[in-house]
């Protein structure tokens, strides 16, 4: 479902409008542009690019936007500061812990100031302490105004959400708002 929401896949039925635009018939370049500007991805396995530094990883979506290097710098540093990784900007992903890598991945998702953050099991590859830290970060972002759509199998983390949609074998079995 996150793939459909993130315009990586197309639904076999139904319709999906993003910011009032029906996305089903968008071309590949249009989808890429929307992914770049409106959506931020956070993956379970972080998916940082090993050859790039922390800074370059966070900068990546902005380079696809055609933004000037000097302009990008402000966005990148701001995103890294927000997740508390500013001091690790020159490190490679392999030099970071799992929790730190995921915080960088969150920074990358945030950097372009997207309309929505899609998080696919963001704590799935982390131990409980790091998982809690990432959830705290996401909550802080949400409190700051970010819209976050997160998929998780962990009920502890699902309880952080304002709205929880429970899927079972591909069907919605529960849809509730937090009290």
């Amino acid at each position: 479902m996150l793939s459909i929401l993130g315009l990586l896949d197309t639904p076999s039925g139904g319709s999906y409008s993003l910011k009032g635009t029906e996305v089903a018939n968008l071309s590949f370049p249009e989808r890429a542009r929307i992914r770049n500007r409106e959506i931020g991805f956070i993956f379970q396995s972080f998916n940082l690019i090993g050859d790039l530094t922390v800074y370059e990883n966070v900068e990546l979506p902005l380079t696809y936007r055609g933004m000037a290097s000097s302009e990008r710098k402000g966005f990148v540093l701001e995103a890294l500061e927000r997740v508390g990784m500013g001091h690790r900007a020159k490190h490679l992903p392999s030099q970071l812990s799992g929790g730190q890598q995921q915080r960088v991945a969150v920074a990358r998702a945030l950097a372009g100031k997207p309309a929505i953050l899609l998080a696919d099991e963001p704590t799935g590859n982390l131990d409980s302490r790091n998982g809690e830290a990432v959830m705290a970060l996401l909550k802080e972002l949400h409190d700051g105004g970010a819209t976050i759509c997160m998929v998780t199998h962990d009920t502890r983390f699902a309880e952080h959400a304002d709205r929880t949609v429970h899927l079972f074998d591909g069907r919605v079995v529960e849809d509730r708002m937090a009290a």
């Binding site: 990586l8 590949f28 890429a32 992914r35 998916n47 690019i49 990358r108």
Partner: protein, 795 residues
């Protein structure tokens, strides 16, 4: 494991086979030229080639004067034997039709000290060198089989050779055609009065005594030669002697180019090895899980390396076997490309050296391409490797760096080869375009030799050609006919010393004026379309009784008469000591013609004499036709036989073929270089493609992430091709610098261009860059077509 991955195994074996096949083909040439002993000759490391030379021209061997040879033979103590030889054409009659054979007049003791024995009869006796000895001949195996049908009673038979009755005293063994392609040998039987001092023309061969070095023999020969020069300053001042290994001297013209092509082939082989190493590195990465399991089950790293090296060795050996088969085909192809008859001792057989080379190269290559991948693959991060889809080990950054380095090396090696091939081909094209001063189109040429016994008096030869040439010119479809002692561009021409009227004879031969001397019949200049610039051409009126005349070329006119009109001036030869001076008057000036081989141009002007006034029994006849000249071969042969039924014609070639033969070696080696460079280009582009395709597979997930983050197809294209182009450009820079220095090795074989020829050094890198770009584009296109969903799921 190799059987389970047939695709990988097939590609690896093919790459190795191509490398081994090419290098074994060239090694068989090296073996034939430089390593394999010359057949039948005993102690051949003691055999030396000997030639006199003018010290002011140390690079040019003159040959040896007969009196100097006799003096050496009498005085030398460091040689076991010394022989002189002069090539000769032998016409054997008495059979169904006359046969012409190339043969040699050779010192009677030559074959004895070389250690070769006849299979029938005996060798020459020393006294058979005497002028009055009965004429005897040794015949080659080929003549024995062809002319005498292998008759064992041939020894003692008398046969007409060059019109003289000669007794056959022996049959030489099969394959013996010393010094190169001779089939009949007769004793030298020269007299000093016919071959005076200063007439350098004999080929000499000697054998140094056991325990004596070539240097010692050279020192003694130099001392004797210096003594001769002191005693005969008029002819021998500034004359010294070269004494070199006979084998070295025999391969002098080809050694450098052969070794250069062998170097080129080794480059191709290295590229093939780099490709296989890349394949093995990639395969090691995909096998990290299997290797992880083996290590987890207790295998030591050494055992894993051994297993992987064994697999490489199997690849190497199978590749060697296939490469040997390719080499058999390659050698056949190479032999068909050789236009000239190959000297008897150059044999491209697959002997133990060639087999050992192929197997050794296969084994060495196995280690070369197998060792690093084996070390890398045997060292995976165990935990990661055992995880589903673990891609550590050789798939990591270290493995990628190694693969990238190999591609850079491949591109660099390929560029060096391609630039080399570019230089050779541009030089070849220059030779092709060389203006030889005459029109070679639609012209048939052949050689006729008139036996001395049949054509005894001085007028016999001119009489024969005076009959033949008009008959040929009158043939239907023939425009013109003429004859000359030397064909243009053939290199079969000597230098003669002469003086002009009003000049004193020089005290020393080395100070004399030099000319290329040609005897031609009327019709020669019309046939060759060499324009007469001034004066008149020869006519039938220029007979032996008419005043002696000659024509000179424009180079001669400028060099010898810078401020004067040459017409009316006279010149005469110097090399007929004791004879009354024969002055010839210059009656015309013609355009210069190249008579040397096109690869060995010199600026020695030519002087033409009427054949009637300066007769020669060996002439090349030229016939200009209205249509394809090759179709006139039978017609002209029958015309010659109609004039004299005992005269065979030989070396029947079109003039275009004569010109092409003039630089056949450059074309041959240039073609070889180009084939190997093409192979290198193919293998290098395959290498680039392989690495980029593998990289795209490795980076599939990364590409998916980039797409998820908004990368457009153009971004992906730039990402993949950018990586490839960085490797290609690095390889090009390294290759360019290497080629800049290595091209110097080719400098001596290039004509009309410099070793740093700008078109070769600019165009070739651009071509390689474009081919490399295409090799990058295919994997890049595959990356652009990746579905981001699939890419993100890819493990």
């Amino acid at each position: 494991m190799l059987v389970k991955t047939p695709g990988f195994t097939a590609i690896a074996v093919l790459a190795i086979a191509l490398g081994i096949g090419a290098s074994t083909t060239m090694f068989s040439a090296i073996n034939a030229l430089l390593l394999r002993p010359m057949p039948y000759i005993q102690d051949q490391d003691r055999l030396v080639a000997i030639s006199e030379f003018f010290t002011k021209e140390p690079g040019h061997d003159n040959g040896t004067a007969f009196p100097d040879y006799l003096e050496w033979k009498k005085n030398v103590t460091t040689l076991d034997g010394l022989a002189a030889m002069d090539e000769a054409t032998f016409i054997v009659t008495g059979g169904d039709k006359p046969e012409r054979y190339l043969g040699g007049l050779i010192s009677a003791d030559a074959f004895s000290f070389m250690g070769v024995q006849p299979i029938l009869g005996r060798l020459f006796r020393t006294e058979e060198d005497d002028l009055n000895a009965a004429p005897v001949a040794l015949i080659g195996y080929h003549v024995w089989q062809e002319h005498f049908a292998g008759d064992k009673g041939v020894v003692g038979k008398t046969i007409p050779i060059n019109g003289k009755q000669v007794t056959v005293i022996g049959v030489m063994p099969k394959g013996w055609r010393f010094p190169e392609v001779c089939d009949i040998w007769m004793p030298l039987q020269f007299e000093e009065k016919d071959h005076p001092r200063g007439n350098f023309f004999l080929d000499c061969v000697g054998k140094v005594k056991k325990g004596v070095s070539i240097e010692q023999a050279r020192a003694e020969m130099e001392a004797i030669t210096a003594r001769i020069a002191a005693q005969h300053p008029d002819t021998n001042t500034g004359v010294s002697v070269h004494v070199t290994s006979y084998r070295e001297e025999s391969v002098r013209n080809f050694k450098t180019l052969t070794l250069l092509v062998m170097g080129a082939v080794l480059f191709v082989h290295l590229i093939a090895c780099a490709n296989v190493a890349n394949l093995l590195l990639a395969r090691g990465a995909t096998r990290s899980k299997e290797i992880g399991i083996r290590l987890a089950l207790g295998a030591s790293r050494r055992q894993i390396i051994r297993q992987l090296l064994c697999e490489s060795l199997v690849l190497g050996m199978v590749g060697s076997a296939l490469g040997l088969l390719l080499a058999v085909w390659g050698v056949d192809l190479m032999l068909t490309a050789l236009p000239n008859e190959v000297p008897y001792w150059i044999r491209f057989d697959f002997d133990w050296r060639v087999f050992s080379f192929a197997l050794g190269a296969g084994a060495l290559s196995s280690v070369l391409f197998g060792l690093v991948p084996a070390f890398q693959a045997s060292n995976p991060q165990l935990v990661d490797a055992l995880k589903e889809g673990g891609r550590t080990g050789a798939g990591g950054a270290k493995g990628q760096r190694m693969r990238n380095s190999l591609v850079v090396a491949e591109v660099a090696l390929a560029l060096v080869l391609l630039i080399g091939a570019g230089l050779m081909m541009r030089s070849f094209r220059y030779l092709q375009r060389t203006d030889i001063g005459m029109d070679p189109s639609r012209t048939l040429t052949f050689r006729v030799g008139l036996p001395e016994a049949q054509f005894v008096d001085n007028e016999a030869a001119p009489r024969f050609f005076a009959q033949l040439i008009p008959k040929l010119a009158a043939l239907p479809g023939v425009e013109a006919a003429g004859a000359t002692t030397s064909l243009p561009a053939q290199g079969n021409i000597g230098i003669s010393a002469f003086i002009l009227d009003g000049e004193a004879e020089p005290k020393q031969l080395q100070d004399a004026r030099n000319m290329r001397q040609l005897m031609v019949t009327p019709g020669y200049f019309q046939t060759t379309r060499v324009p007469l610039l001034r004066g008149r051409d020869f006519t039938v009126a220029d007979t032996k009784d008419a005043p002696r005349v000659c024509l000179i070329d424009d180079d001669g006119a400028r060099a010898w008469f810078p401020n004067d009109d040459p017409i009316g001036h006279q010149l005469r030869f110097l090399d007929k000591a004791g004879e009354p001076p024969n002055w010839s008057t210059i009656v015309g000036i013609v355009r210069p013609v190249v008579y040397e081989r096109v690869t060995k141009l010199t600026k020695i002007p030519a002087v033409y004499f009427p054949h009637e006034q300066v007769p020669s029994r060996f002439m090349s006849v030229m016939v200009r036709t209205k249509t394809d000249p090759a179709k006139f071969a039978n017609l002209v042969r029958n015309t010659v036989l109609a004039v004299n039924k005992d005269l065979p014609i030989y070396r029947v070639l079109t003039m275009d073929e004569v010109v092409a033969q003039s630089f056949w070696d450059r074309r041959f080696f240039g073609t070889l270089f180009t084939i190997f460079a093409g192979l290198a280009l193919f293998l290098a582009s395959l290498g680039i493609y392989g690495v980029m395709a593998y990289s795209v597979r490795q980076r599939t997930q990364e590409i998916g992430v980039r797409m998820a983050l908004g990368a457009q197809t153009g971004d992906v294209l730039r990402l993949v091709t950018g990586q490839g182009l960085r490797l290609i450009l690095t390889g090009l820079v390294i290759g360019f610098v290497s080629a800049f220095f290595l091209a110097q090795l080719l400098a001596g074989s290039l004509h009309g261009i410099s070793a740093h020829d700008p078109p070769s050094f600019t165009l070739v890198p651009v071509i390689l860059f474009l081919v490399g770009l295409a090799a990058c584009y295919l994997p890049a296109r595959a990356a652009m077509r990746l579905d981001p969903m699939d890419a993100l799921r890819y493990e």
